[in-house]
């Protein structure tokens, strides 16, 4: 399946102004393809995430932009400069490493000033820049502290400050919050987003945490097996996943196999699901000529109703049997055996309604616009 190119993809003007262009980039390690013909534009000043499971090639891609890896073929441009084979120390890019990689023999000032000193900035200017960036990351006056005196969260901020102080064209972040506990991670997500908006530098953020990517990114690209599966704003990618992989990796999805029976001209195409029930999907989401498809619905979009009540007009409706119910406090999660024995997940907000009993036949209904096709 082709990666979907739909809304959320930058227009021509945005592409021209993009900070990072990857063109047909391939990276192989002794015959194993890590990054497979990747083309990507990262717009200037955006918080952009590369999201994917471990081993999908996202860190390799980041490494190639940072200069730690050389592409096997293809070009990497920073602005209008081809940097494909430029060593890291000559690139206008800085990295916040997953492990922070702070210099243990230097104090915080020494760590943050490291890049500026290499660039040959005058001493007084370095001092004021360090003071400024320490204020930005909310650790003012920490210049003389040692790295070993800092907590994980503070080290994380120093790693960020050490990279940001150089005002790079692009800041690369390699799962920088991975080592923090959940609460601190949430806090740092908000902080990272704030800092990015303050400084206006392009952030390229690599993560396997879909929630994190959704929460922070202006745009994101979902990667799998060295390729980009989908590119767009978090909303676009979540609401209308283009591939099976995206549908299941980004949030949970219910996928039911079906056949397109009519699509010509109308607003909605009709799809006969395996098992015989018919549903409607927005016609523009069906590629013309495509017959065998899967219909997808997010679990929170499904309404679970007793079959005795009349179905709401205009809704898609199918029936199934409740086989499992789990109380989660904020919601109930039900597994319903639907068409052709497909197990469907349904989230029902906890409004105090009577829970269906196990084995009960229920109706699942949803708005046709909430249907996606993969």
């Amino acid at each position: 399946m082709l990666p979907a190119v739909r809304e959320g993809v930058p227009n021509e003007a945005e592409v021209a102004a993009a900070d990072v262009h990857l063109r047909n980039v391939v990276k192989t390690y002794g015959g194993v393809v890590a990054v497979d013909d990747l083309t990507l534009e990262i717009p200037r000043g955006e918080f952009f995430s590369l999201l994917g499971p471990s081993g999908c090639g996202k860190t390799t891609t980041l490494g190639m932009i940072g200069g730690f890896e050389t592409p096997t073929s293809g070009t990497i441009m920073l602005g209008d400069q081809d940097v494909s084979r430029v060593p890291p120390y000559k690139r206008d890019v800085n990295t916040v490493f997953q492990s922070y990689a702070l210099f243990p023999h230097l104090d915080i000032f020494g760590n943050i000033a490291f890049g500026l000193k290499r660039k040959g900035m005058p001493k007084e200017q370095i001092a004021s820049r360090v003071t400024e960036v320490l204020r930005l990351v909310d650790l003012p006056g920490y210049e003389k502290r040692k790295i070993s005196e800092l907590s994980g969260g503070q080290q994380q901020r120093i790693a960020l400050a050490r990279a940001l102080v150089n005002e790079p064209r692009v800041l690369l972040l390699d799962e920088p919050l991975g080592a923090l506990d959940l609460k601190l991670r949430k806090q740092m997500q908000a902080e990272l987003k704030r800092i990015q908006q303050d400084v206006g530098i392009t952030f390229l953020y690599v993560t396997h945490d879909q929630e994190e990517a959704m929460a922070m990114s202006d745009r994101l690209a979902v990667m799998n097996a060295g390729k980009i599966e989908q590119y767009g704003t978090p909303r676009d990618v979540y609401e209308r996943p283009a591939t099976r992989f995206v549908a299941s990796f980004l949030g949970a999805s219910n996928l039911i196999a079906g056949k397109v029976v009519s699509s010509g001209g109308a607003e909605f195409a009709e799809v006969v699901l395996a098992g015989g029930q018919t549903v409607r999907v927005p016609a523009e989401r069906v590629t013309p000529g495509q017959v065998e498809i899967s219909v997808g619905i997010r679990p929170e979009k499904l309404l679970l109703e007793p079959v005795s009540e009349p179905a709401a007009p205009g809704y898609n409706a199918i029936t199934g049997q409740v086989i499992l119910g789990t109380y989660l406090g904020v919601s109930h999660q039900y597994i319903v055996k639907g068409p052709a024995d497909t197990e469907l997940v349904v989230y029902v907000q906890n409004l105090g309604a009577t829970a269906p009993t196990l084995g009960e036949t229920v109706r699942l209904s949803w708005l046709p616009e909430h249907t996606f096709v993969v």
Partner: protein, 286 residues
Amino acid sequence: MSSVRARIAPYLLSFPGWFWLGLFFLLPIITVLSVALQTGNPDTGYTFTWHWSEFSTVLSNYNGELVRSFIYGGISTLAAFVIAYPMAYWIAFHGGLHKSTYLFIILLPFFVSFVIRTLAWQFLLSDNGIVLGSLKSIGLLPQSTHVLSTPFAVIAGLTYNALPYMVLPLYVAIEKIDRRVVRAAGDLYASGVQAFFRVILPLSSAGIFAGFLLVFVTNVGDYVNASILGGPGTTMIGNVIQNSYLENLDYPTASALSSILMVLLLFVIWLYARVFGTEAVEEAVA
């Protein structure tokens, strides 16, 4: 009752250690010092006479050998460092899966006795030996060239014999350096050379400190290299002590020189630790 026991227990536990140190370290040192203050001769025996002037006598008799020992020790330590650092660096950073094999190869010659190894150097460096002989026969060196009995031969031997004591601590220190930190230096505009001097070298300072300490102390007091590879002009203080003790049976001289050597070494180490900072010492010890 039990609180008293709890309080003295740590002291009781450390008693074997104290006993050991007292018996094998403190007692011999006191003996050495007291022997230095004796007078007499080998035939009639020595008696304790508070003969402090022994120290100034040996100092004025053997100051040349003392100075030479420190110079040879210093040069050979530096030379061993210059040779060992790239070896340790290469094994630690580029040794891949065979690090321990490479270390073993470096250590292999050192399973042979120290004296035998030095005798092998004597054989190699002899006037018509493998190295000089062949260079002379093809006319690259004049026939009169000789290396044995020169300071060069002694320092070369000292350097060679010190290599593992330099390579091992350096290797341990360099191996411990997080590669990601080196990567970060590159990311922050440091070229390879800058990354080495700004990050790798300072981060291996504990190993450098330990290597210098081990090699310098051993080499300053060495007598084997000078006696096998050296000549009359390369006598080190170790040779003087050995001769006084074993040949001339002049125990006070040997003891006084040993004490002076020990004090001088302690002073140099103290100075060195002051310059490098106590952190490096702690790290080297740990």
